[in-house]
């Protein structure tokens, strides 16, 4: 796996793939191109089709239509064992009756790897996940995080060009999950394999991925780099699913911009064409000191009343009631010089026009 002369990642292409269960479409016209060596995350709520897509790629689920190619080769007619992909499962799926060594050696044994080569490769894979001293243990003698790392070693020991991860971190507790994110990133840069990662956890998706495909109802709602998916969501669904946001319906205003009824303000033009709503992240909104004007002339200013401050550690999130009756959220760092806002404080808020992201579809 450290052999850099070998071509590493493979290109994956989903072409109009669909999967129906009776009348229900688990996957519809699913079109996706994943570059060689890319870390792509399928992110979505349960039932969005992300696991179906992964299972079709692994060969556990038969597609109802379309084609899937790895490096140009159609793989839909191949059984899972012929696809040469590695996979890490949510439940780890380690063989309980085999030692750690035997688990990791399993794919090599099936590939008739000579014994000495096998021993070296297993040792190398276990070292990579820092479990070199655990080769003789049974899976039941390991902690959840260690089991997870064995599962990883087993999935990559035969140098598959594609590595699939199905909710692979969900079974771990929070601290471990965050540590594993780092390990997986290291692993990815070291292996160079194409990784398809399935999760419902947006935090995982944002930290790990080169690109995120946000899925909904069997389709890709948006596919982009993590920062663009976060900063430039195009649909209400994506805006709300990734991070926290305030969504306001808008109507076209005179002179090209849009009018936000809930805030009683207009936002001047620039890219607002066809917007049905705007998404405004809580951290993009600033509270102004009493009675003062916006520090920046272009800022959009509106008023509200603090409803509920929520202490989040390094930030405080405020719930604000608007004159229209709507509630919205904004967030600021603590200790910004001004006294913290309290319930029922009147507050003047401001945001830059370009931080309001136009939402064109639901």
């Amino acid at each position: 796996m450290t052999d850099s002369t070998e071509p590493s990642g493979a290109r994956i292409r989903f072409h109009n793939v669909s999967k129906r269960y009776g009348d229900v479409a688990a996957l519809a016209d699913f079109d996706l191109e994943i570059g060689a060596g890319e870390f792509l995350t399928l992110l979505g709520p349960s039932g969005s089709g992300k696991t179906t897509a992964l299972n079709i790629l692994a060969g556990f689920t038969e597609a109802s239509g379309g084609d899937v190619r790895i490096d140009g080769q159609s793989i839909l007619s191949l059984p899972p064992e012929k696809r040469n992909v590695g996979m890490v499962f949510q439940s780890f799926a380690l063989f309980p009756h085999m030692s750690v060594f035997e688990n990791v050696a399993f794919p090599l044994k099936l590939r008739k790897t000579p014994k000495p080569v096998m021993r070296d490769k297993v040792a190398e894979a276990l070292d990579m996940v820092r479990l070199g001293d655990y080769a003789g243990r049974r899976p039941s003698e390991l902690s959840g995080g260690q089991q997870q790392r064995v599962a990883l070693a087993r999935a990559v020991v035969f140098q598959p060009a594609v590595l699939l991860m199905d909710e692979s971190l969900s079974a771990l507790d929070l601290k471990l999950r965050e540590a594993m994110r780092l390990e997986i990133r290291h692993l990815h840069s070291r292996l160079g394999s194409t990784i398809v990662f399935v999760t419902h956890d947006q935090g995982e998706a944002l930290t790990l991925s080169d690109r995120i495909a946000v899925m909904r109802d069997g389709r890709i709602a948006q596919i982009d780099t993590p920062d663009r998916v976060y900063d430039q969501p195009t649909t209400r669904f994506v805006a709300e699913f990734i991070g926290q946001t305030n969504l306001f319906d808008v109507t076209p205003a005179d002179g090209g911009g849009v009018h936000v009824a809930d805030l009683g303000v207009a936002i001047p033009a620039e890219g607002m064409n066809g917007a049905k709503a705007i998404s405004l992240r809580p951290e993009k909104i600033r509270a102004l000191a009493n009675g003062s004007d916006a520090p920046d002339a272009g800022m959009v200013v509106f008023d509200g009343m603090v409803d509920e401050p929520l202490f989040l550690g390094e930030t405080v999130q405020y719930s604000v009631n608007l004159p229209s009756g709507r509630t919205m959220q904004f967030r600021e760092n603590r200790g910004e010089g001004r006294a913290p806002l309290r319930r029922n404080d009147r507050v003047r808020l401001a945001f830059r026009p370009h931080d309001a992201v136009p939402i064109v579809r639901d």
Binding site: R83, P96, Q147
Partner: protein, 266 residues
């Protein structure tokens, strides 16, 4: 309060003792009789000795019947375990609307009265000219034991994480190899347990054996025939001998089953 607790405990203990007595009553009677030195079966015995154990081991007719029973039971339990194991795999994986019906079908031999099964097997065996043959009896016994094998192996199968086999597949194993290397090891204790259980279903089965076997007696048939002509304590000795063996084997089977249940949890 304390007094009430105490009374409750005494009552519970008494109840427990009665149930145990109820369950073990036959053995409590037969065990002393087997160590009798009397000429006839009676309770309580007037003199003590191992005379009837000796009588059993030295009579070729008894030994012959015992060996025949062991042979039949070996074949029957192999049949029940293999067919039962395959049935479980089929029933659990085959998503069909006939599943419930099939499950009931596999339980049928445990529900239909043995005498009905015996009659059916008898008629068919006569017609085919295969009555009085060990294989015929073994086949019938295999069917009788099948529901237990399906039950025991099925319970273990449902405990096994199905992603284990998927993992084996994606790592490079074909369907059979994946089953053998991922699922079967966790299933093995239950398979052994089912084998032992089936073995004893066959070993002490009388009714079907009475119908099917003519001249060649199995051990239960031999006991039955012996009882009809004379009451001597040999049967008591045999009974206790086999109760001992059965107890050991069943304990072993149960231990294996539990070890398996613990191991398949990670």
């Amino acid at each position: 309060m304390m007094g009430g607790d105490k009374t409750g405990r005494v009552l519970l203990t008494a109840y427990f003792a009665v149930v145990v007595l109820y369950l073990f009553f036959p053995i409590l009677i037969v065990a002393p009789m087997s160590f009798s030195d009397d000429r006839f079966l009676g309770f309580p015995p007037e003199s003590w000795g191992l005379r009837w154990y000796e009588a059993y081991f030295s009579d070729p007719v008894w030994i012959d019947a015992t060996v025949r029973s062991l042979r039949v039971a070996a074949v029957a339990s192999t049949l029940a375990t293999v067919l039962g194991g395959l049935a479980v795999v089929g029933l659990e994986r085959w998503r069909t609307r006939w599943r419930t019906a099939l499950t009931v079908l596999f339980a049928a031999p445990a529900i239909v009265p043995n005498v009905i099964i015996a009659l059916g097997v008898f008629v068919v065996a006569i017609r085919l000219g295969i009555n009085d043959q060990e294989l015929t009896l073994a086949a019938a016994h295999g069917a009788l034991a099948l529901p237990f094998a399906v039950m025991i192996i099925g319970a273990a199968y449902r405990q096994i994480d199905p992603t284990l086999e998927r993992a084996a597949r994606v790592l490079g194993a074909g369907p059979v190899r994946a089953f053998v290397s991922a699922t079967l090891p966790s299933l093995m204790p239950a398979v052994v347990s089912a084998f032992i259980f089936s073995f004893f279903v066959s070993f002490d089965e009388l009714i079907v054996a009475l119908f099917v076997m003519g001249g060649s007696e199995t051990l239960p048939v031999r006991i039955w025939n012996d009882l009809r002509f004379e009451l001597n304590p040999t049967i008591a000795a045999i009974s206790i001998f086999f109760v001992a063996i059965t107890t050991v084997a069943m304990t072993l089977a149960e231990l294996l089953r539990r070890r398996g249940a613990n191991q398949s949890r990670v």
